[in-house]
Subunit: 236 residues, 2 copies
């Protein structure tokens, strides 16, 4: 799983119960599955069906939903549009999220064109690059802005989130500028540990980390297989 943010935010919020991080991550999956069901015209689901489609077991799903409230009907199940709306509201997806993407390499462009953003209340409002050759190019509906004008464009577009898709060397500097410009939610793809004040939420996605975790498990499977082989040979 991607990685927990450096800052945990308010430990006990002023209003409403907080959702455990692990449940929060799964709720986004339920939401996606419910969205698919909505387009398929499914109107009701049981926890069993929804859990199956989301790849979890049903008690876990019910527990996760219980952090939000009681939105099901006993003996019946959940109303798909209603539950979907409640999860969206709980996650804050009914607010306007305007995302700036820093770095217009392949990754930044992939993100700018990612259909999953627009469909979930996230609007990409700016795309920056340091390369003068990239500046001015059109990517979808966006024109690449020069990174020198970061602060001005962030203000003009009223961006309230940023995605860092720049090389590792540039990440800390860009992070600092984003924070100084008032951004408090950052998703970083740069493989570095970013320093930022605790009120800034930073999430990191690191593809090398993901592959290394896969490698670890694959290696263990190999080692076990060899051990089993050796054992089998010894037992013959």
């Amino acid at each position: 799983m991607p990685e927990e943010s450096a800052s945990a935010g308010p430990a006990v919020p002023a209003h409403g119960r907080h959702i455990p991080p692990a449940s929060l991550a799964r709720l986004t999956v339920y939401l996606r599955v419910l969205g698919t069901m909505l387009t398929e015209g499914v109107e009701r689901v049981s926890s069993e069906e929804l859990a199956e489609a989301a790849g979890v077991n049903s008690p876990k799903l019910r527990k996760d939903l219980s952090y939000l409230g009681s939105y099901g009907t006993r003996g019946v199940g959940y109303d798909v549009p209603y539950l979907s709306g409640q999860i969206s509201a709980a996650l804050g997806l009914t607010l306007d999220w305007r995302v700036a993407i820093i770095g217009a390499g392949h990754l930044g462009r992939a993100l700018a064109g990612y259909p999953g953003f627009g469909s979930r209340g996230f609007e990409v409002v700016a795309l920056f690059d340091a390369d003068p050759l990239a500046v001015g190019q059109e990517v979808g509906w966006l024109r690449i802005s020069e990174v020198q004008s970061l602060e001005a464009v962030l203000e003009k577009t009223r961006a309230n989130m940023a995605v860092l898709a720049v090389p590792a060397e540039a990440a800390q500097e860009m992070c600092t500028r984003l924070v100084n410009a008032g951004i408090t939610s950052i998703l970083s793809f740069a493989p570095v540990v970013l320093q930022a004040p605790p009120e800034v939420q930073i999430r990191k996605v690191d593809m090398a980390t993901e592959l290394q975790i896969l490698a670890y498990h694959a290696q263990r499977a190999q080692v076990s297989a060899i051990a089993t082989d050796a054992q089998a040979r010894l037992m013959r």
Copy 2:
């Protein structure tokens, strides 16, 4: 954090102690930080220094390292090259990992060109796309292969890991073909729940999920701020 795999693998391995998932994820970070220190010529670190650079506290770091063995010197600290080597070995990074990337859109190309792979023992050996216009194009040292020849190319290149960078609609079919071709480690960027046998390790990275988690925290911060405002006003 990206997300835990659907299958947990052998619960108690034949040899060696297993590393808790949370520690495993952090170990990859320590390894990256140690790599940076190596290039900077740093030879020794204390747990305090390494923890600071990795963004964790030092007891946690020491606990994480203790799952691998005792590789430090009391009263002194850790030898950077040695510790780095030990972590690499424990994670299985001394083996040959040959990665096939499925999907040569912006994301697939970003991954193919990602410098963090080659530098950590992962070699990208194949890049596939379904679009006839993309097939044959050069991306770095690679030529894009047609996805029809997936099985043949996987066998020829002896790929033992795959990265799915295809649209959601195509992900399950590609996953099934990979599994049938003998791949047991898959990193998926497609926003869908993949069905695969339990022995197949699947990790998922979902950018929409990450932004939604950020939105949730940002919303709470907003709500708290409003609550504080209201409270402040009431208390005036």
